[in-house]
Amino acid sequence: MSRATWMFERNSAQGQPAGHYLDSAASAQMLCASHDAMTLLEQGTRANVRRGSHRLAERADELYEQARGTVARFLGTSADQVVFTAGATAALNLLAHSLSERLGEGDEIVVTELEHHSNFIPWQQAARRSGASLNVWPVTAEGVLDMSVLDHMITAKTRVVSVTQVSNVTGLASDLMSIVRRVREVGALLVVDAAQAVPHGLTAEQADFLVFSGHKVFGPTGIGVLAARRGGLEMLQPVSFGGGMAAGVGLRESTWVDLPWRLEPGTPPFSQALGLAAALDWLARERGALEEVRRLTRVALDGLLARPRVRVIGPHDRERMGIVSFTVEGVHPHDVAQVLDNQGVWVRAGQMCAQPLLKALGLGAVVRASFAPYNTSADVEALLAGVDRSMALS
């Protein structure tokens, strides 16, 4: 294997990406370590897990459970509280569906206007299914959670609070400490969508449940994690059913195996689990790289703020986790992104699957630049040059 860190380095003569990839908040580039871990399994140890008794199956089982252990250590929980899912969205759907069975009329679910649709729609459905109320915690005009209404939003009737740790639009971290304090006061459960937080080393230690996805943490697609702390998985009943999760199947009734496997019906993403574990190992070692991401983000933020026609979404004086969203006066975000694409700068434009937040801020769309450890100052310079160029469209 080459000594490259990132897969794109293996795919270019110069060891550099073909452009300036600033869309890591959507999907990050993949680590070679992650890819190689999966390849190793696929080449020599590919067998289904939790089923077979032959030696290949035993080895695959062992590797799969080792991967679970790695994830658990990274998150500060135990392996029996880690469920592999198809992604963060699947994890949130599993959680919302399962918890809805414990809710009823008079109960309240709280989500925020900051949420990605993946942490919004499942709770709308959970409320509809259970008869519970869905209360939406508003943001301020600046696009951060309005903490002045904390005690009003989370009340004695609140059973579940589901909140993002880092906004996928602003890159700002939520004030989880205050939320945790209030959640504990009223005896509710705290669910944290950490999809944009884990890539920056944040793991919401106080959350009862946490979800994230593999492809945003420099690992493979097709895998995500639902993790619980304080034994939270015990509360969850399966909502999907099939092989691997049943202890016994009768003609009318079935019983389930222990946690966490009872929440993993069918063949799990065992290859991707190894890739994810390798990515988390890398993240745990390379904290310095994450510091550099924050520094680059600050440089990009300062550069954008220096341009009078650019409006940066969110407060300007708080540290951002690798994300800056903005608009350019007189130029639609999609057109800005098109100009940037023409310059080889790849950003996201649109509503970022965060329509409630954009509507609250009176925005139709934004441009989002997101940074990762493979980005450099050259990427920031290309971004700013492209933004300047886009202004000619107005």
């Binding site: 999609h334 023409n342 434009a349 509503q351 769309a365």
Partner: protein, 140 residues
């Protein structure tokens, strides 16, 4: 490449003022592209089986604005069924499956660079979808 996509014809249409309403519309449809945030509203009246007094608003990118301006200029007098066919034709054209010369409006040739920009075709199609839907909404 960029100058082709944002050619002078598209930019000219995108900068045009949209027609003002002459009276109360009989039907109105608003559509939003949830990915890019483009929003269009089309208002129409239907007289003698064809659309009259087409007007509306657009909050979108250059391509969406150009498509809206073109449609409001050329949609006057279309029957609802023709608006549905127009949507199908423009879709096929943007996918490279129909030559502009096979369509009654050669001016739509300005959108031909979109054949190579799959991700931006929806920007052009949004106003056409709205016009097709406003007729369906009225029929139902």
């Amino acid at each position: 490449m960029l100058s082709e996509l944002y050619n002078s014809k598209i930019r000219e249409f995108a900068e045009r003022s949209l027609p003002m309403p002459q009276g109360e519309p009989m039907a109105e449809t608003s559509l939003e592209n949830i990915f890019c945030g483009d929003r269009v509203t089309i208002r129409v009246s239907l007289w003698d089986g064809v659309y009259r007094d087409l007007n509306g608003s657009v909050d979108g990118c250059l391509l969406c604005r150009a498509a809206m301006a073109w449609l409001l200029k050329n949609g006057e007098g279309l029957a609802p069924e023709a608006a549905t066919r127009l949507l199908a034709d423009v879709s096929a054209f943007l996918e490279g499956g129909l030559a502009a010369v096979d369509m009654p409006w050669h001016e739509l040739e300005m959108f031909s660079p979109l054949i190579a920009h799959r991700s931006r075709r929806k920007c052009v199609l949004l106003p056409f979808k709205a016009l097709a839907q406003v007729g369906q909404a009225r029929r139902s």
